[in-house]
């Protein structure tokens, strides 16, 4: 198997992250873990954006991933983190395979609204489920990894961080290959002009279907990792404002590169952490103005700053 330049740099950054984890303070590790986990969910949003669909309900799979990991440990005795995360992805895939049949018939705002509706249905169900803690959700703890149990606090924080970085690397490489492969390029063609793609003898609908299901799996992985990192899940994960946050990060990063969502998620988390501390009542406003600014001045996201510079060097 050959690795291209992007993949080698991704791996290098991932190794650097893991090593950095040994020396950095706990709060920073936690912040990065959450950022990278969210970035995985955002990868799901971005995958669909590349084919022209904006999901206002990616929180659905984020929530499914989180709750499956939590419920696996709580009710079914699945304490191994890897097994629980995989289970979360499988459940998300199963749900997406059913919902996708309906959703892939819709485009534009209809897709956005319907995906939002499905995630709100899950929210509604969870809020009314006392067995799952209703609006409070429940705690996720006592998980193990390959039979080894991290002894809480620092140690488990560290383990989740390493796990998240490795999962992020794996998904990033997979998505990178997917976007460079023929099928990934066609996704962009679908965004530009669906009917012409159909004339070429391809089925945009099945393409979008596959895309939707894979995006669901990636997002569920992000949700599961978040549950392990925070040690808690609640229905808020499926609420539509959570999905709005993912769209925000996706636009902030842009669709230009597989690394963009990770960078954007870190920027987002850092800004949010400081903004909530410094200006608790205006931080949403800062977000709103940033979003408008990105749409007007950086329509291709933060990544366009990097690619613009590259283009300048080449010229």
């Amino acid at each position: 198997m050959r690795f291209d330049k992007t993949e080698i740099s991704l791996a290098a950054v991932a190794i650097a992250c893991v090593l950095f984890g040994f020396v950095s303070p706990g709060w920073l590790i936690f912040l990065l873990t959450i950022a990278f986990a969210k970035a995985l969910v955002v990868q799901g949003v971005v995958m669909q954006m590349r084919s022209g669909l904006v999901s206002f309900g990616q929180g659905l799979f984020y929530c499914i991933g989180g709750y499956t990991v939590g419920m696996g440990g709580q009710f079914f005795g699945i304490h191994d983190a890897i097994a629980a995360l995989s289970l979360g992805m499988l459940v998300a895939i199963a749900v997406a395979m059913v919902l996708g049949l309906l959703l892939t018939r819709y485009r534009d705002i209809f897709f956005a609204m319907l995906s939002l509706a499905f995630s709100m249905i899950l929210f509604g169900i969870l809020v009314k489920s006392p067995g799952l803690g209703s609006t409070d959700g429940f705690n996720v703890h006592n998980w193990t990894i390959f039979g080894w149990a991290p002894d809480g606090g620092e140690s488990s924080q560290h383990t989740v961080f390493t796990l998240t970085v490795l999962a992020g690397l794996m998904i990033a490489v997979l998505i990178h290959r997917y976007t460079k492969a023929g099928i990934g390029v066609i996704c962009e063609a679908v965004r530009e002009n669906e009917v012409r793609v159909e004339y070429l003898g391809l089925s945009p609908r099945w393409l979008l279907y596959g895309n939707y299901v894979s995006a669901a799996a990636v997002s569920a992985l992000g949700g599961g990792l978040t549950a392990l990192a925070t040690g808690h899940v609640d229905p808020e994960m499926a609420y539509w404002t959570t999905s709005g946050e993912f769209i925000f990060i996706a636009l902030l990063g842009g669709l230009g590169h597989v690394a963009a969502p990770f960078i954007a998620a870190v920027v987002f988390s850092v800004v949010r952490t400081y903004a909530i501390e410094l200006v608790p009542h205006t931080w949403q406003m800062i977000l709103g103005f940033t979003l408008l600014g990105v749409i007007v001045f950086l329509p291709k996201g933060l990544w366009s700053l990097v690619s613009r510079k590259k283009a300048g060097e080449r010229a």
């Binding site: 904006v54 206002f56 309906l102 018939r105 819709y106 534009d108 705002i109 209809f110 956005a112 609204m113 319907l114 939002l116 509706a117 499905f118 709100m120 249905i121 929210f123 509604g124 169900i125 809020v127 009314k128 489920s129 002009n193 669906e194 009917v195 012409r196 539509w240 404002t241 709005g244 769209i247 636009l251 009542h281 205006t282 931080w283 949403q284 406003m285 977000l287 709103g288 103005f289 979003l291 408008l292 749409i295 007007v296």
Partner: protein, 299 residues
């Protein structure tokens, strides 16, 4: 028998409330093709303006109670007018011509900004304006006691629906608006001032949103975040009825209102589920909503 009556009454009250909230959203989408995520914020702004004005009125014991109803409506009209003009002229005007889905995201940014603006203006403590609600008393219908304020909401919402319909179907401005809905480019070619029409439409939409909030304010405690809850309900109603159709919004509101009331009485755990369940079901069979027009695909 009583529970069926209760479902019908609760359902119609809830439906008329939903219609009030959804009407502005569907009007704006119909003419401007903007699915306005910030509509919930207009609702909240209306509620806050009305609650603070009416609260102030009663706390100082200025005059008779009936004036408070005029204050409710007046606060909504003024707040909607000011906010609508500022947002349309100051922000949206610069954004026209972008993708429909991008407009959704732009109005989402607007929602984030407005949420915090409200916190700055009104603080985070709840506002109450219960007097107009309690002043009207209750009516006994068999075993049920129903608030007269809620019942009159049904009438108010019907009147607003009729006025809107009349505006669109029976006045000159309405005719021009319908021309813009049908074909914006031809309307421009015929000399219609589309920019002005957009401002008018948007202001009507914000006023309707603010009015919904103002009329709801006496029945609830006005706290941060009420707009966020409302907007997804309004979406569901509008999407069921068909985006841009006022009649559709009315039918959508009735469907959602009655099914939710039924769920609350017979199976309370399905309350939220039912609303979006109805929406998914309608869309599964009629993707463009009950009264929406199907559009040909562009090549």
């Amino acid at each position: 028998m009583t529970s069926l009556l209760a479902v019908l009454i609760d359902g119609s009250i809830y439906a008329s409330w939903l219609f009030l909230v959804a009407a502005g959203l569907t009007v704006i989408y119909g003419v401007m093709r903007i699915l306005n995520m910030a509509h919930g914020s207009f609702y909240a702004i209306g509620a806050y303006s009305a609650a603070s004005l009416v609260g102030w009125y009663f706390n100082n014991g200025i005059g008779p109670a009936w004036i408070s109803y005029l204050l409710l409506v007046g606060a909504a009209l003024l707040a909607g007018l000011i906010v609508g003009v500022i947002i349309e002229r100051g922000l949206l005007r610069l954004m026209y011509g972008r993708d429909e889905i991008l407009m959704v995201i732009i109005t989402y940014a607007l929602l984030l900004i407005l949420e915090d603006t409200m916190k700055i203006v009104w603080g985070v403590n709840p506002y109450f304006a219960y007097q107009p609600y309690s002043e009207l008393g209750r009516t006994s219908l068999g075993l049920l006691k129903v608030s007269n304020y809620d019942l009159s909401l049904v009438g108010v919402s019907a009147v607003i629906g009729l006025v809107l319909w009349g505006l669109l179907e029976r006045t000159n401005t309405g005719k021009v608006l319908r021309a813009v809905i049908h074909d914006r480019e031809i309307a421009v070619a015929m000399g219609v001032n589309v920019r002005l029409m957009f401002t008018i439409t948007f202001v009507i939409g914000t006023i309707l949103g603010a009015l919904a909030g103002a009329l709801t304010a006496p029945a609830i405690s006005v706290v941060p975040g009420i707009g966020i809850e409302v907007i997804v309900l309004a979406f569901a109603v509008v999407v069921i009825g068909g985006l841009g159709s006022i009649g559709g919004a009315a039918v959508g509101a009735l469907l959602v209102g009655l099914s939710r009331a039924a769920a609350v009485h017979y199976a309370p755990e399905f309350e939220l589920f039912v609303i979006y369940g109805v929406m998914s079901l309608v869309l599964a069979f009629r993707p463009e909503g009950l009264f929406g027009r199907t559009l040909a695909r562009k090549i």
